[in-house]
């Protein structure tokens, strides 16, 4: 019988939660020597957990565990920019994705690395040199606190040459040649600020594809958007949501029209509107939205959820999980209709991912 595993990346290490029934969870951790963990995932092919972490003292590394967190190793061999490469400095690794036999790593300053030996060594794939906007997105004066650089990697499930990346604050890009060349995928997105480039300069927070990878949803700094052509064009679907701002999002694994998002106050707070926790769901691809709050705190709940802070499993009736930037973890086993807090009180949560393990 398979068990459910949640990997929870936090400001103070990685935690592993396990459950037979998605209701009662055991908690192990903190792992990775309590380094700040920005993203942790389980590679289904190798059974290895990979965690992207960056210590204030000891720099960045990809941690890995082949036994579900019981023992760990780390490596940063090759994770760095060549001297003189435009002065780029690697401040953190922010995203890690196993895909088609290699491990892809996103970093700040914005760069993409790969490992073909299971996370022991890494090599630079690209810093998107020569692309419009690169100078600006690597300019510290234009970066928000906690800047993630290359904040997301979205592999195509069947085509190893094709994947998408997000450069925080600037663009979604797609490659169809394993990262050699990139096309900006921002057509139709809204932006409410002056821009230096027609195709670049969009604040993409989160892209959540449906299982067909033609339908995609995007939480942007300004608005929720949907694509029906693999990100080549976008249509805004914000109407009906309480705010246009948020980070975390998830697409239903069996229904491309069903999608979840956690809208936040768009001001400085970036917490739940009116201090009431809620996840919002559409079942018609964004034409209408339903507020899901049963079991979630509805008073004085001024918490936020970061861009990798929500996960959905692929069971027949999918479960959803989200962690707050102040360390509470919530779960639903009925597609978001009702929720309960699980696991305990954690350090600030940066990422939540789910895996089913035999």
């Amino acid at each position: 019988m398979s068990k459910s595993v949640l990997l929870v990346g936090t400001r103070k290490g990685c935690f592993v939660l396990e459950s037979e029934d998605r209701r009662d969870w055991t908690v192990r951790g903190p792992y990775c020597e309590s380094w700040p963990v920005y993203h942790a995932v389980l590679d289904r092919d190798s059974g290895t957990i990979f965690a992207a972490a960056a210590s204030e003292w000891h720099g960045s590394a990809i941690w890995r565990s082949a036994d579900l967190g019981e023992t760990w190793e780390h490596s940063s061999e090759g994770l760095g920019y060549p001297d003189g490469d435009g002065g780029l400095k690697l401040s953190k690794v922010s995203n890690v994705r196993p895909a088609h036999g290699r491990l892809l790593v996103g970093a700040e300053s914005a760069g993409l690395f790969e490992s073909t030996d299971g996370g022991e060594t890494f090599s630079l794939v690209t810093t998107l040199e020569g692309y419009e906007g690169r100078e600006a997105w690597n300019d510290p004066a234009q970066q928000p606190p906690g800047h993630l650089g290359l904040s997301a990697i979205i592999p195509h499930p069947s085509d190893p040459d094709r994947f998408w990346i997000i450069v925080q604050g600037f663009s979604l890009f797609e490659t169809t040649d394993r990262g050699k060349t990139w096309a900006p995928r921002n057509k139709g997105l809204r932006r409410d600020w002056p821009a230096d480039y027609e195709d670049i300069g969009f604040c993409v927070h989160k892209v959540a594809p449906a299982s067909d990878f033609e339908r995609m949803y995007q939480q942007n700094h300004v608005g929720m958007h949907r694509s029906d052509d693999g990100g080549k064009s976008w249509t805004e679907i914000t109407e009906g949501l309480p705010t246009e701002f948020g980070f975390a999002a998830a697409t239903h694994p069996h229904d491309r029209d069903t999608f979840y998002v956690i809208p936040l106050d768009p001001g400085h707070g970036r917490t739940m509107p009116d201090g009431k926790l809620a996840v919002w769901r559409t079942r018609d691809a964004g034409s209408s939205w339903q507020r899901l709050d049963r079991g979630l705190p509805q008073e004085n709940a001024y918490v936020g959820v970061l861009r990798e802070g929500m996960a959905i499993d692929a069971q027949d009736t999918p479960g959803l999980y989200f962690g707050t930037s102040t360390g509470q973890l919530f779960a639903s086993t009925d597609e978001g209709d009702s929720w309960s807090q699980i696991g305990g009180l954690f350090p600030g949560i940066t990422s939540v991912t789910y895996a089913s393990v035999d």
Binding site: W57, H58, A61, E77, G80, D83
Partner: protein, 87 residues
Amino acid sequence: MAELHLPATLPPLFPGLPRELDIDAATVSEAIDRLDERWPGFRDRLVEAGPALRPHINVYVDRARGELDTELAADSRVDVIAAISGG
């Protein structure tokens, strides 16, 4: 042999690495290299591109602030200190 003292955050990263050990090296950088040979990846934990000591890593040689190229005497004491940062 210089006497090297490491912060508590390092031994958990490298099995068998002690907090204190004697190193035969002419400079701070060379001492770090000696440890990197025995515990691969050690240098990355203290040194960033440049090369330079990481921003929150301080090295004192005989109680004086040192850098990577600071020379070590045969009886030097080297303290590697992880600065108080974060919360």
